[in-house]
């Protein structure tokens, strides 16, 4: 690993000040992704500003029924939190489907949002990758790409975002709070990540010196009936081929509220607005669910290795909605 400086930040103001003044500095949370990438020589910071001592570890109920989650809450604790489990089960399940118990004990909410793709060519310094080295080309296109994106990809990058948690947050209309020397701003989670376009190395709207300090979930009654379904090659400890975060409310056979997001299919957690539009106000039947999935996936395109993901996403959307419908929680 390349040598680097290390600073432990005593407070948020110092953390953001150091990162804004030191050249090539990065925030260090749980380190479960950043440190790996440093070992591989993909991330090459000169200074790490350790933020894990900052007081951003609360999970608080907000007036009006929402929840505010400190950015340094560890994944395991968030998954086990009673408020989260009862009001946003999709989030708890998404967290528990990710990584391993050991990693979840360390990984933070803020870090989870900005973890980087698992595209093997991104990890491999001997391969061409526009994300790692802008303009270098993309070896995944034309290479091994079974795990890659079918929605929102570009000719420059077909990587996917690996987070499960972020998919649930995308379904839940979460808002991310950012802090920098210029002050505080709030960004809807759906606007946090960017599609690759011509600049796949720019993955979020965060500036280099902005620290994620909190994630807020709105009051969202539909989320009480929600589920996360992750489909992968082995039963645990694998990234999603496709995942679905869904919340559904049905009254008298008609969908009165719905949230749907997909993981493993794009460079960002993919909110399925097209599908939601089909579902809302329609009858809650398998046929409608299929129609909704097809509407969302109409724009999907596959490569030889990953075209199966389109059909898999379609089936997983339908199966997840059906499950919410038949287990009674959606009524």
């Amino acid at each position: 690993m390349r040598p680097f400086g290390y600073v432990s930040a005593p407070d948020v103001a110092t953390a953001v000040r150091v990162v804004s003044t030191e050249p090539n500095a990065k925030f260090l949370g749980g380190g479960t992704n950043l440190v790996d990438l440093m070992r591989e020589g993909v991330e090459r910071p000169d200074t790490l500003v350790d933020v894990t001592g900052l007081p951003l570890t609360a999970i608080e109920e907000l007036p009006g029924g929402g929840v505010r989650i400190g950015a340094l809450v560890r994944n395991a604790r968030l998954a086990a939190d009673p408020l989260i489990r009862s009001r946003y089960p999709v989030l708890s399940r998404a967290l528990l489907s990710g990584a391993s118990a050991q990693l979840r004990n360390v990984a933070t909410v803020g870090g989870n949002l900005v973890q980087r793709t698992r595209c093997p060519y991104f990890y491999d310094h001997a391969s061409a990758c526009n994300k790692r080295e802008p303009g270098a080309g993309c070896d995944a296109i034309g290479g091994v790409n079974r795990n890659h994106a079918v929605l929102g990809a570009s000719e420059h990058c077909i990587a996917t975002h690996p987070s499960d948690m972020a998919v649930a947050l995308a379904a839940l209309d979460a808002v991310v709070e950012l802090e920098s020397v210029r002050g505080t701003r709030r960004v809807p989670l759906l606007d946090l990540h960017r599609l690759p376009g011509e600049t796949p190395h720019v993955e979020t709207v965060l500036t280099a010196d902005e620290l994620i300090t909190a994630v807020e979930l709105p009051h969202l009654p539909v989320a009480a009936a929600s589920h996360y379904r992750k489909v992968r090659d082995r039963a645990s400890y694998a990234f999603a081929l496709v995942s679905v975060a869904a919340a559904l409310h049905v009254r008298e056979g008609v969908v009165t509220d719905v949230r749907l997001a997909l993981g493993g299919v794009a460079a960002k957690p993919w909110r399925a607005h097209q599908a939601e539009r089909v579902l809302l106000g329609a009858e809650a039947t398998e046929e409608v669910f299929l129609r909704a999935a097809d509407a969302e996936l109409a724009a999907a395109t596959g490569l030889p290795d990953n075209t199966f993901k389109i059909e898999l996403a379609r089936r997983t959307i339908v199966a997840t909605l059906q499950e919410l419908l038949t287990d009674g929680s959606a009524a």
């Binding site: 690993m1 390349r2 040598p3 020589g41 698992r118 093997p120 060519y121 491999d124 310094h125 001997a126 391969s127 070896d139 034309g142 290479g143 091994v144 079974r146 489909v231 992968r232 090659d233 082995r234 039963a235 645990s236 400890y237 694998a238 081929l241 199966f308 059909e311 898999l312 089936r315 997983t316 339908v318 199966a319």
Partner: protein, 766 residues
């Protein structure tokens, strides 16, 4: 349990005591669970330096420029060794069956002797530094440029150019009886399909690691190897020192599975680096480094064609394979081996072809040949059963051979009927519907499958000494390999029973080239091979003890003949009474009594090698010897997503004598777990454009996790093979065979979908 009649030429089995067969705790259990056991990377040396490798990033060509300056500028870097400054090693010797150590080089490349690159990942430089962290960082700063030469790296496109494998004494590569193609074309029912398997890697928990210490021209190497003796000889040759000057130490190996059988680049380059810097040097490969420099299992394409009468009698069996070797090393993968012995077909053709690619040479991996060959053959049998509308076990039993179907040799211990009966009963096979897709449980499609497990049994010569001391303690000395399977425990049990002493008084010294040499731990041969010599040594020892006692007027054994003497209760006993070894030694005024078997040197060793090869070949002409089994599983396939989960497993095996009920079950279970990975998730992915391994790590090479593994029931017949020492057929590899086929067959039963390309993934089932 069934019992085979004793045969006149049966060797002493020595397996009648209280320990053999019992679930004895591992003798190394405490040191391993407390962390006291030292593995190869855990030996401290003053002045120890650390190495890291720089790997080539092209498949074939020449290094045109290599820049070490940035690496050398890093504080704590001691040396950057490249082809420009490396001292020469001697080239690899030509392979010869008279010197089996010539088989151990993982590659013929003489590392850092030239600018040539033969595969993506080949080491082009070694960095030595004060710490591993510094070495790894400095290695990342070494820059190389290349002139690339044309290469062939893609198995899928090159397989059509495969040539028949060269014939060798160990594996003829081809066998035929009758005209299988003609019989196939006229068969009442036939199946004829291609099956493929990808590259696999061993992924032992312990990374490949070497600690090399030079003292003048004496070399000590801590190395987790499966072949201490051959590694020692190979290092002596490559570095031009007498064999006696090299000591290889490996008391504990943290998993190997074939991946630590050969001597790979990292080992040689560590020894070289230690010579260059004049300090002890340690190299612990990164996981990526293991993938790039240590071979894996060859991929394969296999054709299996079966023809049968309407009643299911096989008339034709064709099994051909294409596998790969590296252009600079590797060897045949005997994928069709099982098909020589499996079924009593009238007409048989087995043939192995191979191609050479510009990739890291392939190597052995748990059940080479049989692991992947059984996937193809046992899937095809299931397909034929489905075509015939016959239960797949019934089809197998109808075609169970009495003798070797090709050349009529006898089976020493053919127990497939028994293991199938046992397994079927324990699994609850009776009443299974033949119709695919006939069972559903909620979202899950449920199916069951079965396949034959089979692995040949062999023997290699082993040297052993046994000593009984005046205090009654027994010391067994043998350079055997403890790689987690319980090897030392098994030999302690055998010695305790053979000498009639409590197991607590037996100590086994192992894992060091200063001990009498053991054969490499491979081919599931170690327990039987060492038992053979150990039992003979114990016999000698008992005779020596009796000789001391019988001449003494005071001994209750006075005048006793060897045949009337029993070893028990810490000593020898005859009709008129007995006494302990301690008492015998005390009266004779001896501090200890020793016996040795083997331990030859010089000409005697060469003669021993010749004698061994002759017996090896003679035995092969006389007997077909093999461990076998029946693998039963239940799978559940998600009706929507195609996810496959294995939910139940029963394995019934004939491994001959079960020396240790606990460790044998663990070995077999471990093989099944590895087979589940092979069936459902494991594949080393090679970029077809560049020959570069795309997933060199455990994050993307998916071995099974706990959640993928169901409870696994293991049953063994426990019946000794009358032709094998201690009746042992070996349990290290048979467990993985048949597993992938049983799963693919169960997936077909669950879904109606036949998958012929491993791994079986959900995209095959959508």
């Amino acid at each position: 349990m069934t019992t085979a009649p004793a045969r006149p030429d049966a060797p002493p089995t020595g397996t009648s005591g209280p320990y053999v067969g019992a679930p004895v705790d591992r003798v190394d259990g405490v040191v391993k669970t407390t962390g006291a056991a030292r593995f190869a990377a855990e030996h401290p040396y003053p002045g120890l330096a650390h190495a890291a490798l720089v790997h080539a990033t092209i498949p074939r060509g020449r290094v045109t420029w290599i820049d070490s300056a940035a690496a050398l500028a890093v504080d704590g870097v001691l040396a950057v060794i490249t082809h420009e400054n490396a001292p020469a090693m001697r080239p690899v010797k030509t392979q010869s069956v008279l010197d089996l150590s010539t088989l151990v080089p993982g590659s013929t490349v003489n590392h850092l002797a030239s600018d040539e690159v033969h595969w993506d990942g080949q080491p082009v430089a070694v960095v030595v530094a004060e710490s591993r962290q510094i070495a790894l960082h400095a290695a990342s700063l070494v820059r190389a440029t290349y002139r690339e030469l044309p290469s062939t790296v893609d198995f899928a496109t090159e397989k059509r150019n495969a040539l028949p494998q060269k014939k060798s004494v160990v594996d003829p590569g081809r066998a035929a009886k009758g005209d299988a193609e003609a019989a196939l074309s006229t068969a009442a029912v036939a199946v004829d399909h291609l099956y493929t398997t990808p590259v696999h890697h061993h992924n032992a928990l312990e990374l490949h690691t070497t600690t090399a210490v030079w003292d003048g021209d004496r070399l000590t190497v801590h190395e987790p190897t499966q072949g201490i003796d051959w590694t020692r000889k190979h290092l002596a040759h490559r570095f031009g020192v007498p064999v006696e000057n090299v000591r290889v130490i490996a008391p504990f190996v943290g998993g190997a599975f074939g991946g630590k059988w050969h001597v790979w680049a990292g080992t040689l380059l560590t020894v070289l680096a230690a010579r260059v810097v004049g300090r002890p040097v340690r190299l612990v490969l990164t996981r990526e480094g293991v993938y790039r420099t240590v071979g894996g299992r060859s991929p394969s394409e296999q054709r299996v064609a079966l023809g049968a009468d309407a009643d299911g009698t096989l008339t034709a069996l064709i099994h051909t394979s294409v596998t790969q070797v590296g252009r600079v090393g590797g060897g045949p993968e005997p994928a069709t081996g099982l098909s020589r012995y499996a079924y009593a077909a009238e007409n048989v053709l087995v043939e192995q072809k191979q191609i050479a690619l510009d990739l890291v040479p392939n190597t052995y991996m748990r059940a080479p040949g049989e692991a992947i060959g059984s996937f193809a053959l046992e899937s095809a049998i299931d397909e034929l059963a489905h075509e015939l509308g016959v239960d797949p076990i019934e089809l197998r039993m109808r075609n169970e051979p009495e003798r070797d179907p090709i050349d009529g040799r006898r089976f020493s211990h053919r127990k497939l009927r028994e293991v199938y009966a046992l397994g079927a009963e324990r699994f609850g096979w009776a009443g299974r519907s033949l119709r695919p897709r006939s069972t559903r449980d909620g979202r899950w499609l449920v199916g069951t499958g079965v396949a034959t497990a089979f692995h040949p049994a062999n023997l290699f010569p082993a040297n052993v000494t046994v000593r009984i001391s005046a205090d009654g303690g027994v010391l067994v000395r043998c350079g055997l390999h403890e790689m987690g399977m319980g090897a030392a425990t098994a030999q302690a049990q055998i010695a305790a029973d053979a000498l009639g002493v409590p197991i607590e008084s037996v100590r086994v010294e192992h894992g060091d080239s200063t001990l009498p040499a053991a054969p490499a731990a491979s081919g599931s041969t170690q327990t039987a091979s060492i038992a053979s010599s150990l039992l003979a040594a114990c016999e000698k020892l008992k005779r020596s003890a009796l000789a001391l006692a019988r001449g003494s007027a005071d001994s209750p054994l006075r005048g006793a003949k060897p045949a009337e003497v029993q070893a028990r209760d810490g000593g020898l006993h005859a009709a008129r009474g007995g006494e302990t070894y301690a008492a015998i030694l005390a009266r004779a005024g001896r501090s200890s009594l020793d016996a040795a078997v083997g331990a030859e040197r010089g000409f005697a060793a060469v003669a021993g090698q010749v004698r061994f090869m002759s017996k090896f070949l003679l035995d092969r002409r006389r007997w077909v010897r093999a461990a076998s089994g029946a693998q039963f599983c239940e799978v559940r396939v998600d009706a929507h997503t195609g996810e496959v989960r294995v939910t139940r497993w029963v394995g019934a095996f004939d491994v001959g004598t079960v020396i240790n009920a606990k460790t044998v079950a663990s070995q077999l279970r471990g093989g099944i777990v590895m087979g589940i990975g092979m069936a459902l998730s494991e594949a080393t992915v090679v970029d077809p454009r560049t020959g570069r391994i795309v997933n060199p790590g455990l994050a993307e090479y998916h071995v099974p996790v706990h959640a993928d593994v169901p409870p696994i029931e293991i049953h063994c017949l426990g019946d000794p093979d009358p032709t094998m020492p201690a009746g042992v057929l070996g349990a290290g590899e048979v467990g993985i065979t048949g597993v992938a086929a049983a799963i693919a067959n169960a997936v077909h039963h669950a879904t109606g979908r036949r998958v012929r390309d491993l791994p079986v993934t959900l995209d095959d089932l959508l």
